[in-house]
């Protein structure tokens, strides 16, 4: 059932490393994380943690990750390679999971570049290993849910730009919009919007809380959007 995930993920990952847009995103990610680190953390008197960096990067991911995922299915639709892919003995689940994993691994590599900042923190100040690990766990889970949303968006259209816009729109709704509306509205609205607000959940991690609820939230969010992507891919056969 998942035999083909390895070769498919390998191809996906190498396609990421061969795509110019991935390098642009990687550059922006590295420059931005360096900037946030220098401006907000590596300042005398600030706490020795990556919390500020992670919180700023999380907002950046709303725009960065859809640019990495827009390619995954839209490109196959536009180039027609979806036909050779889907007539090979692979299942829809294998295809979606591999697309997801390919981008997730690329994102993990980007995330690993911030280990440089960890090194600097360790050199100039003390390290709270537990909080740091939780921060990375949060970034990883947040990224995986965002990538799942992006893969779903890419399954909807053959136009990469449109896929990116759908992804950014959906992620904005789950983050900034839910956050703002939550501030204005009270009562039940606030509760619902609070539950939807992905960034709120994410901040549990950077604050240093180990919240199993938040872990379940991100994992099920990821699974939900991947499931939707599989359904969209299946439904294309009927069109």
């Amino acid at each position: 059932m998942i035999r083909n995930v390895v070769p498919l993920t390998e191809r996906e990952l190498s396609a990421s490393f061969l795509s110019p847009i991935a390098y642009i995103v990687a550059t922006v990610f590295v420059v931005a994380s360096g900037h946030f680190f220098l401006a907000e953390t590596l300042v005398p008197g600030r706490e020795s943690s990556l919390r500020a960096l992670f919180d700023s990067m999380a907002a950046l991911l709303v725009f960065a990750l859809p640019l990495l995922t827009m390619r995954v299915l839209s490109e196959e639709f536009a180039a027609g390679t979806i036909e050779t892919l889907m007539t090979a003995p692979v299942t829809d689940v294998e295809v979606i999971v591999s697309k997801f994993l390919g981008v997730l691994l690329f994102y993990a590599a980007l995330l690993a570049t911030t280990l440089l900042h960890v090194g600097l923190l360790g050199y100039f100040g003390g390290l709270d290993t537990g909080a740091l690990l939780l921060g990375y766990l949060g970034m990883f889970l947040l990224g995986s849910m965002f990538i799942a949303v992006g893969v779903f968006a890419s399954a909807l259209t053959r136009y990469q730009l449109l896929a990116a816009l759908i992804g950014m729109g959906a992620l904005s709704l789950l983050t900034f919009v839910a956050d703002q509306l939550g501030r204005w509205r009270g009562g039940a609205w606030r509760t619902v919007l609070g539950a939807l607000n992905v960034l709120g959940r994410f901040e549990e991690f950077t604050k240093g809380f180990f919240d199993t609820g938040a872990i379940v939230y991100f994992l099920s969010g990821t699974a939900f959007f991947l499931f939707l992507a599989v359904k969209v891919l299946e439904s294309r056969r009927w069109r």
Binding site: R3, N4, V6, P7, L8, E10, R11, S14, A15, L18, S19, A79, G80, T81, I82, E83, T84, M86, T87, A88, P89, V90, T91, R237, W238
Partner: protein, 339 residues
């Protein structure tokens, strides 16, 4: 008769309002090379896409190697090699990387993969550009990479959509040779809108027009059926009207069309099906003391036949009258008449 490899029954595919494939049925046996011939937009690619599990049919059933294309799609996809029409390939990959990747999808282990890539490199003449990135390749080279991909896992059934499109004449000849060679070990279904292609490669032809199979048989059989019989060309010296009338009277002659110059009458004689009036015409000429300087049997070209029936089909589709419900030619092999 050997076992059926591809079986299609009453297959129909609608794209919204438009019916692309209209209740077609056919059977292809193991080891056959069958050509799917039809003008652009006749429903060839749609049918092949249903057979390769790329899209489901609206109604009807199809099996490949005994597996249902809808319910046993993975089993079907394991035994077919498919070359889609415009040969979509991953542009950034190198040829050998691509083939190796496709080999993994077919579950070949490292050793089997290396052997398979070596084999298709040879059969599809990929040697010179095996290490080149695909985006640098010409259309003809990409066509060969696509064919190599289709052959990689040594599939029982090869489904090739317009396999020689975009190739130069030498490559076309080589590809046809290759396909004929492949048919020894594989069952081949190929589509084309070019007649000589099918005539040169296939043992049997299915002619599809307007989503329906309008004729099927070997190229020879199809030729035979043109106008019900064949045509004789004869040149006889003699008084024009008398010659024409006398020939008209010969048994087996359906109609005569004459033109004359310098006292020679050039006769185009349509014969009744299954009859050969050549000897009788010779005797007639000898008896009347007319000179006979040429007489040959001309079986109509498949091309003519193709144009004729596809034009008829187009006519029917326009009229959409009761005539459209009748097959143009008797079907062979007990096929159901198109609805």
């Amino acid at each position: 008769m050997s076992t059926a490899m591809i079986q299609v029954q009453n297959l129909t595919k609608d794209y919204g309002e438009r019916r692309a494939v209209d209740g077609i049925s056919f059977t292809i046996h193991e080891g056959e090379i069958v050509g799917f011939l039809g003008p652009n937009g006749a429903g060839k690619t749609t049918t092949l896409r249903i057979l390769t599990c790329y899209m489901p049919a609206t109604s009807g059933t199809a099996t490949v190697g005994g597996f249902d294309v809808f319910t046993q799609s993975l089993q079907v996809r394991r035994i077919i090699g498919y070359l889609p029409e415009n040969v979509p390939l991953y542009q950034q990959m190198r040829v050998n990387e691509y083939l190796s990747f496709r080999g993994k999808l077919h579950g070949l282990d490292a050793a089997a993969r290396a052997a398979a890539v070596r084999r298709v490199t040879e059969t599809c003449w990929l040697g010179e550009f095996i290490g080149r990135p695909i985006h640098q390749l010409s259309k003809g080279m990409r066509q060969r990479v696509g064919l190599a991909d289709a052959l990689l896992h040594d599939p029982k059934v090869l489904i090739l959509d317009e396999p020689t499109i975009g190739l130069d004449p030498t490559q076309i000849r080589e590809t046809r040779l290759l396909i004929r060679e492949l048919a020894r070990r594989h069952t081949v279904l190929l589509s084309s809108h070019i007649l000589p292609e099918v005539e040169a490669t296939c043992q049997r032809t299915l002619i599809i027009a307007g989503g329906r199979i309008v004729a099927s048989g070997s190229p020879e059989e199809l030729k035979e059926r043109i106008r019900g019989g064949s045509r004789l060309i004869a040149e006889i010296a003699g008084p024009g009207s008398e010659v024409t009338q006398a020939v008209q009277g010969v048994a087996g002659v359906r109609s005569v069309e004459a033109s004359s110059s310098d006292g020679w009458n050039r006769l185009k004689i349509e014969t009744t099906r299954g009859q050969d009036p050549r000897e009788a015409i010779f005797r007639l000429a000898a008896q009347r003391n007319w000179l006979l300087r040429e007489m040959r049997l001309e079986s109509g070209s498949l091309e003519e036949f193709f144009v004729q029936i596809t034009a008829q089909q187009a006519e029917r589709n326009r009229g959409d009258g009761p005539a459209g419900t009748r097959p143009i030619l008797p079907q062979v092999e007990g096929q159901e008449a198109p609805r």
